[in-house]
Amino acid sequence: MNCQEALDLLYEIIDKEASEIDTQEVKRHLDHCQDCFGRYQLHGAIQSLLKEKLKLNTDIPAIERMRGNILSKLDEIDAQRESGGSKTVPFRFTAVALAAAAALVLLVGTGFFATSLYQHYTEYIPIERAHWDANENVDIFKDSEKTASIMTAVSRDFGLTMSPAHNGLKLVGGTSREIRGMQVSQFFYSNGEYSASIFVIPASEISFSDDLIKTKIVIDGNCFYDHNCRGCRLLYTKNGNAIIITASTDRHYDLTEFNPVIRAI
């Protein structure tokens, strides 16, 4: 291979698009050609520096803003789909659609459907979002001073402490957030693949809805309320004067086995 042939392949090599044979040939050429080696080195360095300089900066407020807007648009689409609100209903389905709409009106009439939807968006979704947010912005949990101060507050207010690791997940850290006007302490656990959040909320701030009470399950004498609908899984349990909510990103991860909350002596 001569210099011209080697340089013709420069960008394909840098972009890892060249064939294995060409790559080997170029390597052999560069071993004994200082000039071509210099050019390859320069362009390789430029490529990686460009990538580095362009990759930095995640504008977290912008991401949060977009996420909020997108999720509420998705909520609208879901609600539309749920009510069969498609504008292009084929004629032969009209009767069925009308029947469905009538059934819907009945449900709304009894207040059941409207209430459960309302609760879904106001009570459960904000908690679930806080957990998704934690997944995307793990760094905010890595502040050890902040974590220590949240730990101290939770211990003082509720007599609770968080174990550093539980059921395969490790404590990344804690933070405090305002969710629907409540001050909520959040602890984030992860093993790199799965993650879970523990939310600690004063019991006085939350009243369980009838729907949530219906989901009661008892495991080893502990009472859990398992909110699991519309892709959102949250496990509620009462511990003294605190409500603990556990959220996980993985629907198959058994939340009932994840309970790192310890009552301090």
């Binding site: 340089l7 050019r39 430029i46 520096l49 300089k53 991401i63 977009m66 648009k73 998705l74």
Partner: protein, 195 residues
């Protein structure tokens, strides 16, 4: 006909798990495509909401990231491009392939000319150089440099022939190198060509 509630919930969960994590990357590229924060945010939101509407068409197991970029690039080309399109009047053919190398080798004293060139260049300077590329080149350069898509993936995302991807990328690179070098000389990071 109404979808069942559990069906909707499953779709929603899959979408949030598979598509939404790509929002950072989409935004990063949207910023370079639109060259302004407001349009970039609108573009990402529009693209993701559109992706959700068409989520049924996405084949599980295929490349979700490339699929999302294809949707976003499509929205950009159809809806944003006309607003900011600059006329294509750049002639890159007179820029030699090794322009940068020649200039650096001639005007630098050190062993590592690229280090001198980039040491003091800020992230914003590099972004500005990318922003100055003509749009057709910029889209391809961004998808390759920032997102690391292969030529074939870029061809599918931007709906171009493979050969067009290669030539735009090549020409985009030449222009970018020239811009970066001119910038470095203007700011006295390296010496200018001897006259």
């Amino acid at each position: 006909m109404a979808d069942t509630v559990s069906n909707i919930a499953e779709k929603r969960q899959a979408f949030e798990k598979e598509a939404l994590p790509h929002m950072d990357a989409l935004y990063r590229t949207a910023l370079r495509m639109t060259k302004n924060v407001g349009d970039a945010e609108d573009l990402v939101q529009e693209a993701l909401v559109k992706a959700y509407r068409f989520w049924d068409k996405f084949e599980t197991g295929s490349n979700c990231r490339a699929w999302l970029f294809k949707i976003m690039t499509n929205v950009f080309i159809n809806e944003y491009r006309s607003k900011s399109r600059s006329p294509m009047s750049v002639n890159v053919d007179d820029i030699d392939d090794n322009y940068l190398y020649g200039q650096l080798a001639a005007n630098s004293d050190g062993d590592n000319p690229e280090k001198e060139l980039f040491a003091r260049m800020l992230d914003d300077d590099v972004k500005k150089a990318i922003d100055e590329l003509p749009e057709d080149f910029r889209i391809v350069v961004v998808l390759s440099f920032i997102e690391g898509f292969s030529y074939q993936e870029i061809a599918e995302i931007a709906d171009l022939q493979l050969g067009t991807v290669k030539s735009r990328l090549h020409r985009g690179r030449k222009l970018l190198q020239k811009e970066l070098l001119d910038y470095a000389i203007r700011n006295g990071f390296i010496k200018g060509p001897k006259k």
